[in-house]
Symmetry: none
Subunit: 198 residues, 2 copies
DNA sequence: TTTAATATATACGATAATCGTACGTTAAAT
DNA sequence: ATTTAACGTACGATTATCGTATATATTAAA
């Protein structure tokens, strides 16, 4: 049956996602995926009707996973600071994962099949997070040396960075990138202490 | 003759670079380049022996251009800050010029033909600036907890904010905005000193 | 203007990649 | 032992790609 937890299927999904996020939807082939995943083509067609179906399944899984992670953060009893960090990290780890490559492809091909779904999901994530932050700032539970509006704007812009190849391309892992951004967001470029330029 | 300024050749180089920087060296074909450039294959092979030769020529041209720009900055008698700005601009505008895509490909394929050349070039561009910054950091004149390259990127992005009315519109004066941005840039979201979360 | 040289386009054969499937094989469940 | 699910091999059909041989147009020289 369509055993969703088959090892072979997992291998296909994993390899498929890797190649997909790197090369886009057009420049990959099922043969390549099978080759790299160590799976025969017949097995591939056992689980997926074709490449398109596989992509759809992968994206669907991805969005589901992300939703679950978001809910987990929301429901958790982490201190609010940690929640914010978790959100930002999630957003960055996902925006890249969703793939700058795919973002671009989707953007460039308007009538794209999964465009709306992804956009909707994206909005959902951002709005949910920003609304929470706004609320806390308005309630005075968060104090910052920066105007709240400025903060919100910056956070919004930062999510763009994660889809910018010039930025993402410098980091080996998404974790490293997210960590760096968080570090900057909270503490700025300069460490505390005397600072001189020239 | 191998007219280096032929229109057709330019079209090939231009399109070739676009596709190359986007899809990498492996996932493009000369037929595709010719198709997109509006050039016949025969013309392609008039100017280049094959795809590899074309890539080599493109990269060579690119590096030469970049070298010239770097030297121009170095030789200029601009004040130090202006030189830094120029470097930032060079690095950000053109300078992922090699394209994150190629950087990654080269990084992942050690025995790559142009790896050394490109690495050397990259060092020349980045080191020139970053070494200066790092020097200042080491000398205690600048202290930072953020990767200098990240800093470069962020600075560049901040210049975008200044052109975004959603951002500018919040401030009565330009000074207020600059102050806010600098405050954020230097100290991050959290001010040093008494900052409470929750 | 005629002629030679050069630039560009078309057509081609050879090879390889890709798709989706028919069929055979293993391994486990009944 | 027999059925059934999972998986691999081999296949035909189609398409892409390479590099070249040949044909045409354009330009420069005589």
């Amino acid at each position: 049956m369509e055993n969703r937890s088959s090892k072979k299927r997992s291998a296909i999904v994993e390899t498929g996602w890797r190649l997909l996020s790197y090369h886009g939807t057009e420049r990959i082939s099922v043969e390549e995926i099978c080759r790299e995943a160590g799976v025969s083509k017949m097995t591939f067609y056992k689980y997926f009707a074709n490449k398109q179906a596989m992509i759809g399944a992968i994206l669907k899984d991805l969005l589901q996973t992300m939703d679950a992670r978001i809910d987990a953060i929301r429901k958790s009893d982490l201190p609010y600071q940690e929640k914010i960090k978790a959100f930002i990290r999630l957003k960055m780890e996902q925006a890249a994962p969703l793939g700058w490559r795919l973002h671009k492809e989707f953007r460039e091909c308007p009538g794209h099949k999964w465009l709306d779904e992804i956009k909707a999901w994206n909005d959902k994530v951002i709005r949910g997070f920003l609304d929470d932050v706004k609320e806390k700032i308005a309630a005075g539970e968060i104090r910052t040396n920066v105007n709240p509006e400025t903060f919100l704007y910056i956070v919004e812009r930062m999510t763009d960075w994660a889809a910018d190849e010039r930025f993402v391309g410098r980091y080996v892992t998404v974790e490293a990138m997210a960590s760096e951004v968080l570090n900057f967001l909270f503490y700025g470029f300069l460490g505390q202490g005397a600072v001189k330029w020239l």
